[in-house]
């Protein structure tokens, strides 16, 4: 599993509004890449183009290429639904399906994609995904209770389990810890470290320490002003970005001397 992502000349629009301009980037398999930058700079928007989720918003469109192991996910005849099966996503706010139990939540992706599972297969997959999300020990006795009964951090890990249960190649995380307390955040960060053995992980975060802790490479986005498009300023090794960045703009942001 795990794939390489090449982003070439990516422009993103909402209607006529150019939200992100000319992104070039190469994301290596089995690595953690962090997107940082001020709010509104387009980092989440770029993340959402990697599994064609931005199309969900009416009027959104892109130009350019996003290659996944050499195949353009915006190429002719590509079904966004298939792309999303390869590229899982975890959102800012934990969003377990309220009508489903913990187990049903984990299996939701597989079941909704028409795969028939025998009972033992389903049990195995549930355990594997929940172990993968470091949640198994906490919930193994209440798999049939509603997922919304868990704590915020547990819910977020349940969402990660749900995403990895469909066995994607890439895992996208959109500020997964922004609504969590420090202890739950730590649990998720540990989990991200484990996940990179198997998946290509891309994480958007507004927390620079978090980017420094979990990622191998970091991309810094910035915006010139309201109504201007967001741009990728610097994409580099995380250690370089946080110690000795190439661009002055990055250094200003990192050191808090912003604007």
């Amino acid at each position: 599993m795990s794939k390489q992502i090449d982003i070439k000349d990516l422009d993103i629009f909402y209607g006529d509004f150019r939200a992100v301009d000319g992104v070039q980037m190469q994301i290596k398999p089995r690595s953690v890449t962090a997107f940082i930058g001020p709010s509104g700079c387009g980092k989440s928007t770029v993340l959402r183009t990697l599994n064609r989720m931005h199309e969900v918003i009416p009027g959104a469109s892109v130009s350019g290429e996003v290659l996944m192991d050499g195949n353009d996910i915006y190429g002719a005849g590509v079904d966004p639904v298939n792309v999303r099966r390869e590229v899982g996503m975890v959102f800012q706010r934990a969003n377990p399906f309220p009508t489903m139990s913990i187990k049903e939540n984990v299996l939701a992706g597989v079941r909704l994609n028409n795969k028939r599972l025998s009972k033992t297969e389903a049990d195995d997959l549930t355990e594997r995904a929940l172990r993968g999300a470091n949640l198994w020990n906490e919930v193994k006795d209440r798999l049939n209770l509603p997922g919304s009964g868990l704590s915020g951090g547990q819910q977020q890990r349940l969402c990660i389990a749900r995403a990895i249960a469909v066995e994607p190649e890439v895992l996208l995380m959109d500020e997964p810890c922004s609504a969590l307390d420090p202890i739950s955040t730590l649990a998720i960060e540990d989990l991200i470290n484990d996940l990179k053995d198997k998946y290509t992980v891309v994480i958007v975060t507004h927390n620079m320490q978090q980017a420094a802790r979990v990622s191998d490479k970091t991309a810094f986005f910035n915006i010139a002003g309201t109504g201007k498009p967001g741009k990728l300023i610097e994409f580099n090794e995380t250690s370089t970005i946080f110690s000795n960045p190439d661009k002055e703009e990055t250094e200003n942001y990192i050191s808090g001397r912003f604007g």
């Binding site: 422009d11 209607g15 006529d16 150019r18 301009d21 590509v78 966004p80 201007k228």
Partner: protein, 339 residues
């Protein structure tokens, strides 16, 4: 959206490495859609929902078209020989008193019901004891659901008791045309007058207006209420400062909905009113509304009479349409912008 034009310009002029032509954005959405693959499941499902939506357009067009089609006989009669139409003086002199009766009864119902509805809504949202308030709200909702035929039945039982009141009204307020007694000084013996019907109508629309206004009042931002109280306002001053201004457009639209109901309400009037010619006085028998005219005569009607009644129904449809659109315009104008 002055920003968007600025943006398309700033794209190429910016320090970016990509010399993008400015006209690219309009093209790209179309290109994106061309590439997208539509799954059969999605196509079937979206088509089904689309058809359902279009069906609603068809039904509404059908209402107008079929009523018009069935009005054909009336229209030809009106053109060739107006004396054939009930009353012998053509369609318009037949329908005119009905329209007036409908408007009068709806107006009375609204005038009586609105202040009471506001009072009840305020009482249940801001004045009633905390534990009682939700129960009262629930009871109001239930009353709004009671079928009009039951209100009609109740109105018949009640009508006889009102004759004394009407006699008193005509004695002291007879100088006002709407309370004038008949030539011999009497009022309706059965009490089944347009005023009774209108009062029952007002009681009928009372829960409807109340339950809508109540919901609006409940939505008043708590912060605004607390801000008013924190300034030292009494409860009534708080209501005037925060609750009523916030609910203004909601109150108007609730009232208009009540008016629509009162205009189109058939049964309460059809059961209570013993109809007659249009008279100014509301305490003697006489007057008729459109809906009641249809209900009382439809079962026995055939031929031209049937067509007449359907045409009258078309008139009612148009009146309620106009009222609804007027209401919408008022609501659009009075609604609070932003928050």
């Amino acid at each position: 959206m002055p920003i968007s034009t600025q943006t398309t310009e700033s794209g190429p002029t910016g320090p970016g490495s990509t010399p993008e032509p400015g006209q690219k954005p309009p093209q790209s959405p179309a290109a994106g859609q061309q590439k997208a693959v539509v799954r059969p499941g999605d196509r079937i499902f979206s088509a089904a929902t689309l058809i359902a939506g279009i069906l609603i357009l068809v039904i509404l067009a059908g209402v107008a078209l079929f009523l018009l089609a069935q009005s054909k006989d009336t229209i030809t009669a009106q053109i060739s020989d107006p004396s054939q139409i009930t009353g012998g003086k053509g369609f318009f002199s037949y329908v005119w008193p009905l329209v007036i009766g409908t408007l009068i009864s709806a107006a009375i119902a609204l005038i009586v019901a609105t202040p009471f509805s506001l009072g009840i809504a305020l009482f249940t949202t801001h004045m009633a004891p905390r534990k009682l308030a939700p129960v009262l709200g629930y009871v109001i909702d239930l009353l709004a659901a009671i079928p009009s035929v039951v209100y009609g039945l109740w109105g018949i039982a009640l009508a006889g008791n009102l004759t004394g009141f009407y006699l008193w009204l005509s004695k002291w307020f007879g100088w006002i045309p709407i309370f004038a007694p008949a030539a011999d000084g009497s009022v309706s013996q059965t009490g089944r007058t347009l005023l009774t019907a209108s009062l029952v109508l007002s009681i009928m629309i009372l829960p409807i207006i109340t339950s809508l206004t109540r919901e609006i009042f409940l939505q008043t931002p708590r912060l605004q209420e607390e801000a008013a109280l924190a300034l030292g306002a009494t409860r009534w001053e708080m209501i005037r400062m925060a609750v009523l201004p916030f609910g203004k457009s909601g109150i108007v639209s609730a009232t208009m909905l009540g008016l629509g109901r009162a205009l189109g309400e058939t049964m309460a009037v059809a059961m209570i009113l013993s109809p007659g010619v249009l008279t100014a006085s509301l305490v003697v028998s006489g007057n008729q509304t459109i809906a009641s005219e249809i209900a009382q005569n439809f079962p026995e009607a055939a031929g031209l009479r049937l067509s007449e009644l359907i045409t009258v129904g078309l008139v009612l449809f148009v009146i309620t349409l106009l009222v609804n659109m007027g209401a919408r315009a008022i609501v659009a104008r009075t609604s609070v912008k932003g928050s």
